[in-house]
């Protein structure tokens, strides 16, 4: 069931992509994330699990500064991408978000054509100089999103006309079109049926070869299937972080154990 050995010491380690130190997040007076330290590796799928409301989404959204758009949200501590503080004044959050792509819980294609959906990011970042280059980028992204074969004949049709699972893969294609280094996914399968979920999970496994993927999921089976590292959050704390196999078979913290055995959450 688990594709990594139970013992974390023998696992292959990749270089650290994102390092978080003493991260605290507040919504007004609500303390949503408390002193979280975590290291997210390159070319690895890291899963965030935990009961609902424990701050998984909040922490995920810190990683591409999506929380900046919420007025009352305040982030403290250090989050570094490739060793560079992403909250430093010199960092432009808009550019950061192109480098750290995001896929949301509910598939949210733009009400535009499939082509436009994927081409939008590269266009606003000036990644293509000619139409042919843009076509190429769109095709590459759709192939990486494992949806090219299904939509190649109807690129001009609206993206909102696709099925839920196709929409979500389109959104993944849209996210990878800007050549990000990290891909954040917030419960990407929770609005999908089991078959579409299986397709997206397969895709996530492929994406691991090029990207660092962070996925929030409420399904422990999913975390076990797709991730190599797992972080367990509880009430804003990062309770346990380690190899997925170890978390699921041999959790150190009693809270983790109760959660994965279904006693809390």
């Amino acid at each position: 069931m688990y594709d990594t050995p139970a013992s974390g010491k023998t696992a292959v380690t990749h270089e650290v992509k994102i390092a978080a130190r003493k991260v605290n997040v507040f919504y007004g007076d609500t303390h949503a994330i408390k002193d979280v330290d975590v290291e997210i590796e390159d070319k690895t799928v890291t899963a965030f699990i935990g009961p609902s409301g424990c701050g998984k989404s909040t922490f995920l959204r810190c990683l591409n500064r999506m929380n900046d758009t919420i007025d009352i949200c305040r982030v403290e501590g250090l989050i570094a991408l490739d060793g560079e503080d992403i909250y430093a004044p010199s960092i432009d959050p808009v550019q950061l978000r192109a480098k750290v792509g995001m896929v949301f819980q509910k598939p949210n294609p733009f009400p535009k054509s499939i082509y436009e959906n994927v081409a939008y990011g590269p266009k606003i970042h000036g990644m293509a100089r000619t139409r042919a280059e843009l076509d190429e980028i769109v095709e590459r992204a759709l192939r990486r999103g494992a949806i090219w074969d299904e939509v190649k004949d109807r690129l001009q049709e609206p993206g909102t006309g696709l099925s839920g699972g196709q929409q979500q893969r389109l959104c993944i294609a849209r996210a990878v079109a800007t050549e990000p280094e990290v891909l954040l996914m917030d419960e990407p399968c929770s609005a999908l049926d089991p078959i579409a979920t299986a397709q997206v999970e397969e895709l996530i496994d492929e994406l691991r070869e090029q990207y660092s993927v962070v996925i929030v999921t409420h399904s422990m089976q999913q975390a076990a299937r797709v991730s190599q590292k797992t972080a367990f959050f509880h009430l804003g704390n990062l309770v346990e972080f380690g190899e997925t196999g170890q978390i699921f078979t041999n959790p150190h913290d009693p809270r983790t154990e109760s959660y994965i055995t279904g006693r809390i959450g």
Partner: protein, 429 residues
């Protein structure tokens, strides 16, 4: 509880439950009937209004004309200066030819010529000025009859009324009947109601000036209120930091929408005309005044439309690295546009019917030509209705109703566009 026979604690078949059930049913029926009655009353009122407008206004949609042969006598019209010719005499001569026995009685003759509209001489003059070669020829022209004869022809003057109380005496009626017998009288559709400007004579008065004035005023209003309203709404909704100041602005905008329109008229009178010395009665100034009123409507509608765009679309765009302004102008605004347009059209429809502020800046002046530019003096549809409703001539009664119908038609048309837009672009997310 599900098994009442065994538990016995709750008997659903007891008579008091049946009574309660009946009571509930009765109150439901009563509520339904009350609603039905309310709707019936509302529609009844509306029907009454429209029916009374149509029953009086329909007379203004036709106009009585007489077909006469006019000899353009060179003795009265100088071909070097056709504009100054004595066209009244030309028309009198024409009437003399029709009624030879009154030729010597000047007073009779004068009464006879009042069959023709006072404006007839001017329309003949205009065609002669346009083509002086007509002088010396006999031309067939169709001229409107004056208001009393128009009323007579439409059956609005009762022939049974004692002569002393009647606007037209027996001999005048006889004269007109003669013309009718000769087949010279016709009653075509009154397109002049739309193509003529205002006039002292109801048979010549039309809405052209008012329609063009209203059009200019609405255009001005739209060109000012639409961009400013959208700009303000976007700033308030998307960019303004939430603070006490923005709360204050918000409250004030909502209050502004509730300010009586006459207040905007007074403001315009003091500021636009008083301080800036803008022209009186100009549709441009009227439009600026209406823009003051329409602005809060557009701001509120735009903010509602922006708010209705689901956050998932903003997140999607932000997620691929769009900046705030790219999100707003590339995604949110286009999706909000149908809602914004709907709100704007409804705001403009309101402005179209607005009377008080236009009265205050003098758009109820008597002006007999349509404005060539938005800076010329003019009336607007509602103020024209106001003027006509105030005019004593009988012919203006039906024209007032007709003008109201024209205004209502424009309003219905604009609201239909708004509804069409809303239905066509309505989205299910």
């Amino acid at each position: 509880m599900t098994d009442q026979t065994s538990s016995g604690s709750f008997d659903w078949t007891a008579p008091e439950f049946a009574a309660r059930l009946n009571k509930r049913k009765r109150s439901q029926i009563a509520l339904k009937l009350a609603g039905l009655a309310a709707i019936t009353i509302a529609f009844g009122m509306l029907f009454l209004l429209v029916a009374s407008l149509i029953s009086t206004g329909r007379h203004a949609f036709t106009q009585t004309f007489v077909q006469i042969e006019v000899f353009l006598d060179p003795a009265h019209i100088d071909s070097n200066d056709p504009a100054r010719g004595n066209y009244r005499q030309v028309l009198t001569d024409t009437m003399v030819k029709l009624f030879p026995d009154v030729a010597d009685d000047r007073a009779e003759l004068r009464r006879l010529t009042t069959i023709l509209s006072n404006g007839a001489q001017f329309s003949i003059r205009d065609s002669v000025v346009a083509d002086p070669a007509l002088i010396g020829q006999t031309v067939a022209v169709r001229v409107p009859v004056s208001d009393p004869y128009d009323q007579l022809n439409k059956g609005l003057i009762d022939r049974e009324t004692p002569e002393a109380n009647r606007r037209l005496k027996d001999d005048e009626i006889a004269n007109f009947d003669l013309l009718k017998e000769l087949g010279m009288v016709s009653k075509p559709l009154n397109r002049w109601l739309i193509t003529n400007a205002d006039s002292r004579f109801p048979e010549l008065a039309g809405l052209k000036g008012a329609i063009i004035g209203s059009f200019y005023a609405l255009m001005t209003c739209f060109l000012l209120a639409f961009p400013i309203g959208i700009g303000a709404a976007i700033y308030l909704e998307e960019f303004a930091p939430k603070s006490r100041v923005s709360d204050l602005i918000e409250i004030n905008i909502n209050n502004l929408a509730a300010v009586p329109s006459v207040v905007f008229g007074l403001l315009a009178l003091a500021v636009f005309l008083g301080w800036f010395g803008m022209p009186r009665s100009a549709p441009f100034v009227g439009g600026m005044t209406l823009a003051l009123m329409t602005l809060p409507t557009i701001i509120i509608a735009t903010r509602a439309a922006l708010k209705a765009v689901p956050p998932s679309i903003r997140e999607a765009a932000l997620g691929v690295g769009a900046s705030k302004h790219q999100v707003v102008f590339g995604h949110v605004l286009p999706l909000a546009m149908p809602g914004i347009l709907t709100g704007t059209i409804i705001g403009l429809a309101q402005a179209l019917g607005e009377t008080a502020p236009l009265l205050l800046i003098g758009m109820n002046a008597f002006i007999t030509s349509a404005p060539a530019t938005p800076f010329d003096s003019s009336t607007a549809l509602p103020t024209q209705i106001f003027i006509w409703a105030d005019s004593p001539e009988r012919g203006f009664v039906s024209r007032t109703s007709a003008a109201i119908l024209v205004l209502l038609t424009f309003l219905i048309f604009m609201n239909a566009i708004a509804i069409f837009l809303r239905n066509k672009f309505e989205r299910k997310w």
